[in-house]
Assembly symmetry: C2
């Protein structure tokens, strides 16, 4: 399934900035960053549960916000972009 | 139709910070802010065109990024939230 993950992490403390970095790292392992706090992910149900578990372990639910939207598929047909776009498509081979 | 609007505006200049404020103001006129740079909107096609025209006039496409996702409807059935959520639902009456 195709998902959009968006987050706000409160970064007014060092702990918050650390949470933000860790949330971004987890999301990067599961999808493509398309904006600073927005990732597109193509996941099976097991991967989705793992992603949610890992993110739940990183955030402070009193201050942070995570939203998971199931997208219309294929999401690219239901998406319009203005301005900058990420340089790599999620389906491209990754060069590390 | 239900849409998610997400944006990144480059704020390393005063002009960029001004663009960010103006993009947020335009989005607020068309939908509900659910995260700092994420809005949920329920729009007809005419409203969507107006929203896109107004945003296109505000951003600098060389530095900023806007993404419009058509959502599965009703979007709330295809959405999972962790942590903080906005205080008002888009369908609640607005108290100004």
């Amino acid at each position: 399934m195709e998902l959009l993950v968006t987050y706000d992490v409160a970064t007014d403390t060092a702990a918050g900035r650390r949470r933000l970095r860790r949330v971004a790292l987890v999301c990067q392992a599961y999808g493509q960053r398309v904006q600073k706090s927005v990732f597109e992910c193509v996941l099976n149900p097991v991967q989705l549960e793992r992603l949610k578990d890992r993110l739940a372990a990183e955030i402070d639910p009193e201050y942070d916000s995570l939203r998971f939207y199931r997208l219309r598929e294929p999401h690219a047909q239901h998406l319009e972009i203005m301005g900058q776009r990420p340089q790599h498509d999620i389906r491209d081979p990754l060069v590390l």
